[in-house]
Amino acid sequence: MNTNIEAAADPKNEFKYWRIAAWCGPMFMGCYMLFWGTCHNYPPMSPALTAEQVQAIFMQDHLWFKFGMVICMSFTICYAVWSIAMSKVMGKVVGKDSILCDMQVWGGGLTAVPLLVTSAFWLSAGFRPEMPATQVQLLLDTAWMLLDLAYSTTTVQMFAMGVAWLSDKREKPLVPAWVAWYAIWVGFAFVAEIFMPFFREGFFARQGVLNFWIEFGIWFAWAWIVSYYVIKAIPRLEQEAVTRVVRLKGRIAKIDEEGNLVASA
């Protein structure tokens, strides 16, 4: 009987699937960096290209577009699962009922939507590249508008986690303060995306240094850095939970010895 009770009350049970969920982040990023990049996205096709030039690229590499985007669409859900893992860890800092945890889940979940939909647009253009050239161009442009201008969903997620990590009262916080500020900064820096539709060439266009290399670079770096600290936080949280239960059991045992409370065993 005792064994059953202890198995049910094993404090590590709570964290059983957290590691898998947290590792979904690196899995998503690795997959996206590889397969999304194969589809002429490093850097993106310039908006200054003519419809015929865009169509020619899709005609030539339609197999890559199909293959890459199918893989990307299959792994996009990993982003949402990873966001849930981060929300769980945040819950151990701010309390699981905190609105910040909900913002993390919703922000991460809603970020997965444009990732999924834009991949579907690229896939559609690669599926039937012989359609009128302007339609191929329209699919490409719409995908980029959606991907870049849906930044605010990710910003919500980043702000929520930044604020949560900053309120960690542990002597050594689960996630360092600089990572929290980095998350807030990246969320804030995404605002520059609002200017993207006004440029077809140069530094501020979708393939430019700011919009692509800086904004996507800091986002990719954010995902790897946060994943590292979240994965590292899980064993610490397990240890904290075990320590709490041992203390609790110790107190009950002491009461037993004094005869005030008799254990069922």
Binding site: P176, W178, Y182, V186, F199, G202, F203, L210
Partner: protein, 214 residues
């Protein structure tokens, strides 16, 4: 607890122990403001300096376009905006100092002036934006106006955030006697506001002055 300052016109109300603890802790930090906050400042500066670099490189390629664009900007308006923003920052510094000294009325007064100047800058800039659009100098007019709108537009967004942060400082002031983190909060806000005017101090000569007579 600090001794009351009899030389000052304002009666110093010693902060309760909880606030003093926060102040002492903040003073022990190696860097002013919230721990790690300079990471955000560094990131923001990197983004803006990349704008400045891009603008300068484009300017080298198209000097005539940039000279024409610059001629349409009034340097005295730019100077006025600079002075307003710098003055606002100075009042934020005074508010931080007043917090350190425990002068609550002074904090309030200085924050109100800093906020009013910040709003004045934002309104003047917004009017400037409308005037520029009316004159046909919109974001897609040419590479000068593209860079101008991008840089000053992003700066404008930062000013609006700064105004919001100052309003938060005023709001949290109501509860200062029970708030051990107030000093760190206002100091961090001050650092952010300084970053905003530091950026403008580069933006002003870059768009309004540099090579304007060529």
């Amino acid at each position: 607890m600090p001794a009351p300052n009899h030389n000052s016109t304002e009666r110093v109300i010693p902060f309760p122990a909880v606030v003093q603890e926060g102040l002492t802790k903040a003073k022990k930090n190696d860097m002013p403001g919230a721990p790690g906050f300079f990471f955000l400042i560094m990131g923001e500066l990197v983004i803006f300096y990349s704008f400045f670099l891009a603008f300068t490189l484009e300017r080298i390629k198209h000097p005539e376009v940039y000279a024409a664009g610059q001629a349409a900007l009034n340097p005295y308006t730019g100077l006025g905006l600079t002075l307003v923003l710098l003055a606002s920052s100075w009042f934020v510094v005074r508010a931080v100092e007043a917090t350190r000294a425990g002068k609550i009325e002074q904090i309030k007064k200085n924050l109100h002036v800093a906020l009013a100047l910040g709003i004045m800058f934002a309104v003047a800039k917004a009017v400037g934006f409308f005037t520029e659009i009316a004159a046909g100098h919109h974001i897609m007019a040419d590479s000068f106006w593209g860079g101008y709108w991008m840089t000053t537009g992003m700066h404008f967004i930062h000013v609006l955030v700064g105004i919001g942060v100052m309003i938060c400082c005023l709001y949290r002031l109501k509860n200062i006697k029970a708030d051990p983190t107030y000093f760190t909060f206002i100091q961090t806000s001050g650092i952010y506001w300084h970053m905003v005017d530091l950026l403008w101090v580069v933006i002003f000569p870059m768009f309004f002055l540099l090579g304007g007579t060529s």
